[in-house]
Symmetry: C2
Subunit: 133 residues, 2 copies
DNA sequence: ATATGTGCAAAGGGTTTGCAGATAT
DNA sequence: ATATCTGCAAACCCTTTGCACATAT
């Protein structure tokens, strides 16, 4: 419930913010340009500056996450449980995958070997999806 | 041996390219701006455009890799064995870590669950390094 | 009523491009 | 000798900022 997420973070509930969140939800991993182009259809006065400002404040509030893929502009997704991103190098499609155990195993291995205190993991696997094989 | 790497990829051996590769080697994970500033000291005529063009061609040739970290400009490193990047969120230091087994376990788990053919992995762990704890 | 948010236009940075002269093969 | 590379300047993004007006609380 987007309204509650915003309220909990002392961010005002505006049509612009709701529209941005709805787009991100709809497309999963979306670029700024795509958000802008999609929203413009129903809300022609929406400005790019507003999108930038809101993505920054909602990222700050941990409502959305930025994700960076090789050779792509950054994209945004709703904040979710830790997960892996699978990117198809042929068609560019992106799949989320929750693999708790191996992710945890990796973090543990790393913590043991390094004496780092691990907080988060950003894992992107590049490959070829079933349809493109 | 940088000369051989370039020759093998039909890239001419120029002082600029060697200087860029030497900087990347020296600093491990370096931004474009840092490469430029460092090289300017010994070679004041080196232009930013040359750095951009060469990073692109040497990335294409798989001599260097671009790496993207959260909230940072992209950086470059020499192409190495698959490894994990550990980033300290306090001091920003970056550590490489070869953890073949857990990386492979993750790729396998993913391949099994998804029917993707996995080719590469980009893994970044964010945490706090020993000194900053 | 007040603090925040929006939209606009301008400014700011980073990156790419075209071209003439220089250099590696 | 020739294809490639370099450096410069301009062009071209994408992103941020300041400000006046609008809106949510």
């Amino acid at each position: 419930m987007f309204e509650k997420m915003l309220k909990d973070n002392h961010l005002k509930i505006t049509p612009q913010r709701l529209a941005i969140l709805k787009e991100i939800q709809k497309f999963g991993h979306i670029s700024i340009e795509e958000i802008y182009e999609n929203i413009k259809e129903s809300n022609p006065s929406m400005s790019l500056a507003t999108i930038y400002k809101n993505l920054a404040s909602m990222q700050e509030a941990r409502i959305v996450d930025e994700v960076k893929f090789p050779n792509q502009k950054q994209r945004y997704e709703l904040t979710k449980n830790p997960h892996i991103h699978l990117v198809c190098e042929k068609c560019g499609s992106i799949t989320d995958m929750e693999l708790e155990t191996p992710i945890q195993a990796l973090k543990d291995a790393c913590a043991n070997t390094s004496s780092y205190k691990i907080k988060e993991a950003s894992i992107v696997l590049i490959g070829i999806c079933e349809q493109c094989q």
